[in-house]
Subunit: 121 residues, 2 copies
């Protein structure tokens, strides 16, 4: 399989990666996708979906009034791994942050926030 340059530009956009993540393992209607990202208009989401479809990275199925989108994971080839890894890493970091937050509330913070010096002079 050949990885087109358009694939690289497609996954370089955070917004499109967000969409890809949503439809990675399940079909979602355009409206569902928009509901998951309320900071942009429906039109914006629709345009990005079109970009992804044109790049061959997402497939669409029309059913009655709805249009269901789903990632074509195979078409992404080696890029699929990169995305999954990025998402895993992000989860990992979130988890770490949450644990840190937790411990900050608890009895003894394991690490002072800044200036690790014990004492000077």
């Amino acid at each position: 399989m050949q990885l087109a340059p358009v694939t690289l530009t497609a996954i370089a956009s955070p917004r499109r990666r967000e969409i890809l993540r949503l439809v990675w393992r399940q079909e979602l209607a355009a409206g569902d996708i928009h509901r998951a990202m309320p900071d942009v208009t429906f039109g914006a989401v629709s345009l990005q979906l079109k970009t992804l479809v044109d790049a061959g990275l997402v497939e669409v199925r029309t059913e009655s009034r709805h249009r269901y989108y789903r990632a074509r994971r195979d078409a992404l080839g080696p890029a699929a791994k990169i995305l999954e890894q990025m998402w895993d890493d992000a989860l990992w970091r979130l988890k770490l942050a949450a644990e840190l937050e937790q411990s900050r509330r608890g009895p003894q913070p394991t690490q002072p926030k800044t200036s690790p010096r014990r004492k000077r002079s």
Copy 2:
């Protein structure tokens, strides 16, 4: 190893991919790199080099008047494979094109290029 989003935007640019290819397996001075892409100014190349260095994808070594650049293949992680594959594919296509060209000069073309007409008028 964590693959930063900046890596994706870095390799999404054809110009930066061109540079990465040049310094993939050898050090090159900024001037050498510029000489290999005469369609842009030296300044433009220098800016892209800076972008690549800032993204951590290229390292630089200063020696006397020159600055030598080289790809950090390990820092690219899974993206390295993608790039190499793209370049291999491009070579592959070039090779096919060359063979086609060759056979066009030879006795029997295996495939007419377009419009199989023998002669006009």
